[in-house]
């Protein structure tokens, strides 16, 4: 009897912990009825546009700068290149929802952990269609939840103008990556910040018009 009570208490405690942690990502949001089942993101989706951004990367206190270039090369795939200001190519990827190919990378950056991190970041940045399972809201935003394997992506649309301003990628318990967009117009992000919560990495992109 006593044994089973302890077990019961333990399970209850465990459940409570799980429930609390589960709720931590969305705990400040109010659940809403789903008003759509899919969301499209246009910011890197035009195959005619060369997306060219001046980039500053801060990683564990070190600063790196250069030029980030992305282009949609076919229906599923983006080409992503990062160069120095002088134009030397540092890395060159091809990335889609399911595939990832390194065309070239300088030996200084050729680290598995770095490549995996960038793969996850760029895939999230360039993803242009999300299937939605849940919907929430808070003061400023309508929030859509899109499941993605072990992770969940939360898309924050501003209530004021219905624009996607933020994407949060999280585990069941913790936010991992936050991407914020500063928009020039409906289809185009002038500024993008990719911020990691679990490692000290921040990637800031500022669009520049080539003259």
């Amino acid at each position: 009897m006593q044994k089973s009570t302890i077990q019961f208490l333990l399970i209850n405690c465990f459940l409570a912990i799980v429930l609390v942690s589960c709720g931590s990502v969305t705990k400040n949001y109010t659940p809403k009825k789903l008003d759509k089942t899919a969301v499209e993101v246009p910011y890197f989706a035009d195959s005619k546009t060369d997306y060219v951004y001046k980039t500053n990367i801060t990683v564990y206190g070190h600063e790196l700068s250069g030029i980030f270039i992305a282009k949609k090369v076919n229906d599923t795939t983006h080409r992503v290149v990062f160069t120095t200001e002088f134009g030397n190519k540092l890395l060159d990827f091809e990335i889609s929802e399911k595939t990832f190919k390194v065309n070239s990378i300088v030996s200084e950056l050729d680290r598995k952990i770095l490549i995996n991190t960038l793969e996850e970041d760029f895939r999230l940045l360039l993803k242009n269609k999300y299937l939605i399972q849940e919907q929430f809201e808070n003061g400023e935003s309508v929030i859509y939840k899109s499941e993605d394997g072990k992770r969940d992506n939360y898309l924050f649309f501003s209530k004021k103008d219905q624009k996607l301003e933020k994407v949060v990628r999280s585990s069941k318990t913790k936010e991992k990556i936050t991407i914020t967009f500063t928009l020039e117009n409906d289809k185009f992000a002038e500024k993008v910040v990719i911020l990691h919560q679990n490692i000290k990495l921040k990637i800031a992109l500022n669009y520049f018009k080539s003259e």
Binding site: N56, S65, K71, E85, V106, F208
Partner: protein, 210 residues
Amino acid sequence: MKTKLYIFLFLNIFSISIFAQEQKMTDAEIATFKQDVNVVSKKIKTLSTDFVQYKHLDFLSKDIETSGKMVFKEPALLSWQYKKPYNYSIVFKNGKILINDEGKKSAVDIGNSKIFARINKLIIGSVSGNMFDDKEFTISYFKLKGQNLAKFIPKDATLKKYIKQIELTFDKEEATVVQVKLLESSEDYTRIVLKNKVINAKIDDSVFTN
């Protein structure tokens, strides 16, 4: 059918004219050309020039264009400053690289770093034209209309990883560099056009602070 033939002929003529433009120099012409460039580059104590940089990537619809000003002072002070579309400058000075990125300043001590010493030498060599080092490069020489062209293939394996080939285009009369082209692969390159060049004007050392 007829149009196809015309297009074919046109393309043929076009490609012939491209090849006709780039003609190999004779040994005597190479000797004269090298001497002309050496005489001019030996006289260079300071040099400042505007530049436009075109980054060509095969998959892009347009080259990425940036521009600014480059200043060199003997023996090894170099400032490379982008002004459009952003402010970014890099100064090579006494074994240090000073960077100013939109007001954010940083410095890298390159000390005895061989690769940076080589890059520094390469940039100065590219702009002044004095780069005819057979130990470092396999060099070939060509004539163009009103211009000369030298192609440098690095011999060093480390350098070769970054740059497949460097092409310097010289004005025939002045024997100075008007264009630098750095090829990373056959499809991707950086082309830098130099203009408004001023040689041996007085340049204050304060230019090379960041």
